[in-house]
């Protein structure tokens, strides 16, 4: 329980810090870079090394590459939905989560990632 409380607080602080940095930066497309900042990774990988060792963190970072590529595709799809389909931000970002998950799992399977 304490572990998950620590994860929650550390994750919340790191994510908020990157989000605030994104808020104050202009132009908006540059600030958008911080929407894909390694905030969750920074909070998680340190705990992973402490609890399970370096090899575990290496496995996680290999899988994270698939997640990052899926995030790039996700962001492009969201951008298209907002501009061409004229969806609002909330439905566009939530619906496209399915695309992120499908691409991420597909890439992980292609790379032969063990579960």
């Amino acid at each position: 329980m304490t572990e998950y409380l620590i994860r929650f607080v550390v994750g919340g602080v790191v994510v908020s810090a990157f989000a605030m940095l994104g808020d104050v930066l202009r132009p908006k497309s540059f600030a958008g870079l911080f929407g894909a900042a390694p905030s969750v990774a920074l909070a998680t990988l340190g705990i992973a090394i402490y609890q399970h060792g370096v090899d575990y963190a290496v496995l996680q970072s290999h899988a994270m590459m698939a997640g990052a590529l899926a995030l790039a595709i996700y962001s492009v799809v969201v951008c298209q939905l907002l501009i061409r389909a004229r969806l609002r931000a909330l439905p566009a970002t939530l619906l496209t989560l399915v695309v992120w998950l499908a691409v991420a799992v597909g890439l992980l399977k292609l790379a032969g990632g063990a579960t």
């Binding site: 808020d23 990774a41 992973a48 496995l59 996680q60 970002t93």
Partner: protein, 160 residues
């Protein structure tokens, strides 16, 4: 001249509960990544280190801020809000390339130095993301200039 600038006044546009939502979402995403790693293993859990949960919140906030600003000026602001969120998404796509570099650099460096891995990977994210953004910006500027030059016609009048 650098096109990147800092606008601290933007922080005043946010409401206190918006910051609370982002804190909670960030915490929840980190807990989720930990839970999934415990139940499904390190590989599946690793995918969730690049979960776009925070992006969902950021894009929605940007849209609502833009709509609020336009409404205060007497406009609907819905289209402007979508465009602002789309710009944020375009930036996030480039940031994701930086995230790929982060993961690659971390996996290479962590076996030799843990602190070095965090520093090197963070630097790789920043360099790749900013470089990708600058390349995109330059490409768009060149394309825009070429387009307007074609509309204007040849720079030098043809001799008859």
């Amino acid at each position: 001249m650098t096109p990147i600038r800092i606008s601290p006044s933007s922080l005043r546009e946010g409401r206190w509960y918006e910051y609370l939502v982002r804190f909670a979402l960030g915490g929840a995403a980190t807990v989720l990544a930990g839970l999934i790693s415990s139940y499904f293993g390190a590989s599946v859990g690793g995918l969730f280190l690049a979960l776009p949960a925070i992006f969902c919140a950021s894009a929605t906030l940007i849209e609502s801020h833009e709509i609020r600003r336009k409404r205060e000026a007497g406009f609907s602001g819905a289209r402007r809000g979508q465009q602002a969120a789309a710009l944020d998404a375009a930036g996030a796509a480039l940031g994701a390339l930086g995230l790929l570099a982060f993961a690659l650099m971390f996996s290479v460096l962590v076996t030799t130095s843990i602190v070095g891995a965090f520093l090197g990977a963070s630097a790789a994210w920043l360099v790749v993301a900013v470089a990708a953004w600058m390349v995109r910006r330059k490409t768009r500027l060149v394309r825009r200039n070429t387009g307007s030059a074609e509309q204007r016609g040849p720079a030098l009048p043809r001799s008859r």
